[in-house]
Symmetry: C2
């Protein structure tokens, strides 16, 4: 009989541990993947890839009890040796190799991608086809550490603001937004759909927890093949009750962004440096009205408006440009979208019901958030459903919630991959998606 | 032009804020849902439900500028009044009501469930049919706060242990475990499936980040209609590289459970009290071998073994009973499951290949985790696929990963709803699922 008593400290060391606690001349053990080998003749540099970065190991024949050719790039190994200081090495430390244990060797085939290069420099297609290999590149990997920071900040900030985390079902009888962009499946001989958003559920849970959030996948069967669309993505969603107006929702998002930038600065500094990221200012984010700003950018940049009810991608870029020029801001809220382009549950502006109390957040030329105040009155909600000629079928439980009292509330959804993309300076959302799903891609 | 500058402090107060900062005699504003009204004639108690608990408001005709009948149970309101101390009230405070603002009134229908009762006392069926109402009950709601704590602890503990959070796709070309229990859908005229687990993806990402985790939905088209099965559930998954053995995985899980219990104690004390939960000991968790323990419990409790290769639910209960009797432990690891009941990627025990280096964790009579060491050698993996007569079709990228070097690794998946169920003392997993999906339930 054995007992498990928790995590034990390992004999093998991590990079931060070596920097913080080990001394030059000390014998240490480390493990990692052989990222690259640079054989200089009398000496060779064996660079280990570890979760915290790269670690330089130095091979000299006289010091080591193994041959250099015993190890190969891509092997997973354990190294024993003497820790040394070296100004030129990553983190200014290196290990003089004495012994090695080989956990696994590559199977003799060439690596499909040159992962040890600073910039991978291959096509997006190749990167995605060999995703588990391309991400071994230090820069490619760093993007997803930044993505982690953004998700983590979202949760931690909202916990601190009294939100409760929820898990809502992804298989359901009906989609929240309606429309044709829904994946269908068979659920034990009944028709079912994949959730386009947790919208109905998070609203229902506002009546329970007042403030809720979820970080989970959503599914959109959109036939767009663009740089900004995915058919499955991670949505950072929240919904909050007892708001004074939809400005409270924008203020909460601003608070999140401020918190996220501080967290990245504090705990993801290495990745910011690797990717050469300058974090955007979030102290104050301008908010402009949909109807006014369309005219303004059309005039200033000589753009021909086509659709008066929505923003084209080009207009999003121009509004961002305007915000940068006018207020030196990388973010800009666009408010009061036309009612006919917003879902039925959006609250119309009582001062002009052609518009809604809603907003998008643009970041460096692209919409990364849609949000707004929702209708909380049962009668108003059912009237709007009727006015739009919609079926209430499948929405019974959603509507019942409103019969039994609901506070004024609003919320938003942030596209995690888009936010990451714009922050790290990529121009295709697939670059910041681990395993993208699009019109043609279902694997790996 | 307006600017958003972050979250502003509201005039309305939360319960913790009133306890901490407000003084008796102070005029305060609060909002909330009218949980119940107890009209005693000369005085009435209006109990507000807020996210932090219940708040007693006292209505006396002379003090208030509104009539008691202006408000109703289930209304969402704002109250202005004088804060008073009262030993008998929740949190020992109450508010003498002076003014009220009504945000929304219920539509005159009876509440379908008596949510203000301490124990709801209705059938599970009724609770689930009116989920957005039943969860307004304080005890029902508290279960999901505990669930939040368990998820939050999982992430925070793993961040502290150097894990990276990942988001893997839920739509794919092929399931990780194979078999018939897969939901199928059409993906732009191609056949696709919903992920049964993030298994392949998290293993592939071990080669990138060394240690990864994900907290996300998984989908199982199992035709079981039991108290312990769901067709969609939240899986807490991790996978870690450079392990010395599968004991490292069990040690990490033990560390998580220890961390989780401390977090619950520290930050979810109110909910533990509401649900009258005694947290289990996690200092040391016994581990017993599959083959030995089956015989032992069969002997001690006179149980007739049926399937020598797996544990029946009844055997899980008996092993838990044994662990309680022998070691006073609510948890017990069962190790070395037979190879034929484990998936192809499970590492066989080199000392006896009929068994695997794998484990389940039982908690109070039920399996809540499956985990173990995985095969990391390409040849061993492809040999096992061949020996099982499986098709490698659709696994190309998974297998390619192993061609290019992989460290020894292992991991696990924890069923969040089951863990919550056993912790809060429920006996049906639907009790601790916000919106369960089972053979007959696709709504709400």
């Amino acid at each position: 009989m054995d007992f498990l008593t928790g995590v034990k400290k390992k004999e093998t060391r991590e990079i931060s541990d070596l920097i913080r606690e080990a001394k030059a001349g000390e014998r240490v053990k480390v493990n990692g993947a052989v990222h690259t080998i640079r054989d200089m003749g009398t000496v060779a540099f064996v660079i280990l890839r570890k979760r915290e970065g790269l670690l330089q190991c130095v091979y000299e024949r006289g010091n080591a009890d193994f041959r250099l050719k015993d190890i190969k790039e891509a092997a997973a190994i354990e190294v024993e040796g003497i820790l040394m200081e070296n100004e030129k090495a990553p983190n200014k430390i290196e290990i003089r190799m004495e012994k090695v244990v080989i956990f696994s060797m590559p199977k003799g085939e060439m690596m499909p991608l040159p992962i040890a290069r600073w910039k991978l420099g291959t096509s997006l297609e190749a990167k995605l086809n060999y995703r588990s290999i391309s991400l071994r590149n230090i820069r490619e990997r760093a993007k997803f550490r930044i993505q982690e920071g953004l998700t983590r900040a979202f949760r931690d900030f909202l916990y601190s603001q009294g939100f409760t985390e929820i898990h809502t079902p992804k298989i359901g009888a009906k989609g929240a937004e309606g429309g044709a962009n829904i994946f269908k499946l068979e659920y034990f001989h009944r028709p079912a759909v994949l959730a386009q958003s947790p919208q109905f559920y998070k609203q229902m849970m506002v009546g329970v927890f007042d403030r809720v959030f979820e970080t989970a996948p959503v599914f959109r069967a959109e036939k767009h093949n663009t740089k900004r669309h995915l058919n499955e993505y991670t949505s950072l969603d929240f919904e909050m009750g007892y708001i004074d107006g939809f400005e409270d929702v924008m203020a909460m998002e601003t608070g999140y962004l401020q918190y996220a930038m501080r967290l990245l600065e504090r705990e993801y500094g290495k990745e910011l440096q690797i990717l050469d990221i300058t974090l955007p200012e979030t102290d104050k984010i301008p908010a402009v009205r949909f109807s006014g700003i369309k005219e303004k950018v059309s005039e200033r940049y000589g753009h021909q408006m086509k659709n008066p009810f929505d923003l084209e991608p080009e207009e999003e870029q121009l509004i961002s440009r305007y915000a940068k020029e006018e207020w030196d801001s990388d973010f800009v809220f666009v408010t009061h979208y036309p009612s006919k382009k917003r879902p039925f549950y959006a609250m119309d502006d009582p001062e002009d019901t052609r518009y809604t109390l809603s907003f998008d957040l643009l970041f460096r030329g692209m919409e990364i958030t849609t949000g707004g105040q929702r209708i909380h009155d049962y009668q108003m909600l059912t009237d709007k459903i009727a006015a739009r000629g919609m079926e209430a079928d499948g929405m019974e439980q959603y509507l019942t919630t409103f019969k039994h009292g609901m506070p004024p509330h609003g919320g938003l959804g942030i596209g995690l991959e888009r936010l990451t993309m714009k922050l790290v300076g990529e121009d295709n959302v697939r670059e910041t998606t681990l395993f993208p799903r699009d019109l043609s891609r279902l694997e790996p």
